[in-house]
């Protein structure tokens, strides 16, 4: 493992280094629906991501949480340049990816990898585990020699906790946890510096989830990786993240370090989300106060005026219908988009 092995092992010290690896500025991604064809009259605009800004330091994990449709996955896909953003900048290691052509992006794609949610559909069913991991090594010319590549595949498999004898198997012969380990090995093969983890454990059983989370943490320390951890499970996000951003209807409503978000949440949406997570202990549950939000997430085709959360917000006032609240620094390092905090 050439470059991977050369990476300094810094597992002993706190991970973030202060050096910004990724900066997202005013990211906007709109999708048009309808348009030409049979249903052409109803042209609508889905504001999937609507002005999102954040940065990630080298070696840290930023958790991105929110409910379905909040834009967290689209944000990840824009960073990967799987979607070209409508507006905004994505600055990775000093380069604005949105300005690059496909050819210019190619060497950078190696450095930003992804681990998908569903290990059943993200692995090619007609390739063996060994081929799945070897293919990108050959395509990107990382290990051009065939036998060296074989050795490298075995290295990667054993690093993620899979018996090398499974290299000849097909994905359907593996369990969900093993498949997700293969997905991790495939990302790791590219020697990335940033990995977008998009709900990497939510399709797995609880007893397997903890195995994969521990693996991701070990690999981060060993190879000095940076993670954007996209998930809806707030307990898992608290465990793995250094900082956390909460999204609602295409916008970040709160962003701060892990401790502050979970111990002193400011935004009413964050508070409601935290309260909705059931805790596996009947005694604790009985004593807990539950904030049950009314209504549902509005459509991102027709978001509410002013603060997008105001129709469901327990503390909304008349002014909340007016202006869009700015994501402002309420306390040092703790930003929230709410005029009532």
């Amino acid at each position: 493992m050439t470059a991977l092995a050369a990476a300094p092992l810094k597992s002993a010290e706190p991970s973030p280094t202060g050096e910004v690896i990724l900066e997202v500025r005013n990211l906007v991604k709109h999708f048009t629906v309808g348009g030409a064809g049979l249903f052409g009259r109803n042209v609508g605009l889905i504001r999937a991501v609507d002005g999102v800004s954040f940065s990630i330091q080298k070696g840290e994990t930023l958790g991105l949480v929110g409910e379905s449709g909040c834009g967290k996955t689209t944000t990840g896909r824009c960073i990967l340049q799987l979607e070209r953003p409508t507006a905004g900048e994505i600055i990775f290691e000093g380069q604005d990816l949105t300005k690059l052509s496909s050819a210019q992006l190619r060497p950078i794609r190696r450095k930003i990898q992804v681990i998908f949610q569903d290990p059943y559909s993200s692995l090619n069913p007609r390739m063996t585990v060994g081929q799945i991991i070897a293919e990108p090594l050959a395509v990107h010319g990382i290990v051009p020699d065939r036998s060296a590549r074989q050795a490298r595949v075995h290295d990667l498999l054993s690093r993620v906790g899979i018996l090398t004898s499974l290299a000849a198997r097909y994905p359907h012969e593996l369990s969900g946890g093993e498949r997700q380990r293969v997905g991790v090995a495939r990302s790791l093969a590219m020697e990335p510096s940033l990995i977008i983890c998009d709900e990497p454990v939510s399709a797995l059983d609880v007893s397997i989830q903890a195995q994969i989370i521990n693996l991701l943490e070990e690999l981060q320390a060993e190879f000095h990786l940076t993670y954007l951890f996209v998930a809806h499970d707030l307990s898992v996000v608290r465990h793995i993240s250094d900082r956390v951003a909460v999204m609602y209807l295409g916008k970040i409503v709160e962003i701060t370090d892990r401790r502050a978000l979970y111990e002193e949440p400011l935004h009413p949406y964050t508070k409601a989300l935290l309260s909705a997570v059931p805790i596996p202990d009947p005694a604790v549950e009985a004593a807990r106060e539950h904030v049950v939000l009314k209504g549902e997430v509005p459509s991102s085709m027709n978001p509410p005026s002013g603060c997008v959360f105001h129709p469901r917000c327990p503390i909304a006032i008349e002014e909340c219908r007016g202006g869009v609240p700015e994501l402002r620094e309420v306390r040092p390092g703790h930003r929230a988009a709410c005029i009532r905090v």
Partner: protein
Amino acid sequence: MGSLLEVRDLRTYFFTGGGVVRAVDGVSYDVREGETVALVGESGCGKTVSALSVLRLVAAPAGRIVAGEIVFKGRNLLALDEEGMRRIRGQEIAMVFQEPMTSLNPVLSIGRQLTEPLEIHLGLSPAEARSRAGELLALVGISDPARRLAQYPHQFSGGMRQRIMVAMALSCNPSLILADEPTTALDVTIQAQILELMKDLSRRLGVAMLIITHNLGVVARYADRVNVMYAGKIIERGTAREIYANPRHPYTLGLLRSVPRLDEPRKSKLDPIEGQPPDLVRLPEGCAFAPRCRYAIARCASEVPPLLPAGEGHDSACWVADQLGSEVRV
């Protein structure tokens, strides 16, 4: 309160080309009137098949209930003919499925789907059924019922669809609702709404519920009694408080330890259960959990432990259950 449903030594097997899958292998549980009981476990542990067997909805010809008794209000459901079973389904025992989009018929209006069981099971006239359907929608918190009844499933959000499923389940005043992962497909804030609704309605209407879930948090908040399943067997059962405060099976203990908890200080490392669940075609000879168990002794590899009392209203199927109790409190 008396037992409403009693399942005794149920065995439901699937006969496949690859061998006999013993999905449910000697399971006994009961649900008393008005109470909420949970079947908890991970994928493939047999929790859904245990519940589907009650309604005799196991996919034939591969799936067959090969042994056991299912006694509901004193009658053995396995002895009923198809017509007798049809009167039970939907009327006395209703079901709420995980995926509200696939369990509603996309080409029928909500009104049609709600009135059909009312006309068939309760013999209401179309006009009576329609007004009752409107009441049911209001009961589950859907406003403007008259307009909503004319709409189709795709015009509702996931949470709304699950409310409709709950309304359908309640429509014929059942005494038992089987809820199979009722909120797994929903977002956390909507999950909380649906669970609160179900709990409130079950209390108000006195309906018993059997909740099937993998989510330990959902169980803690809503269940009175819990059955933990692993590889086709119940391996621990007891009141929810007992199971969570004093788990006496290594699998339950492992599950509780492996999930990060918001109310506890963050751990530097999670404590997973190592290994994988077993292949149900080739179960180990002794305890099915033994290969993953950190407390296993020699006996575990050869003899299947029976469910034995491990405390007040608390049973555990583990040869070392006694030693576990004290160690847990460390």
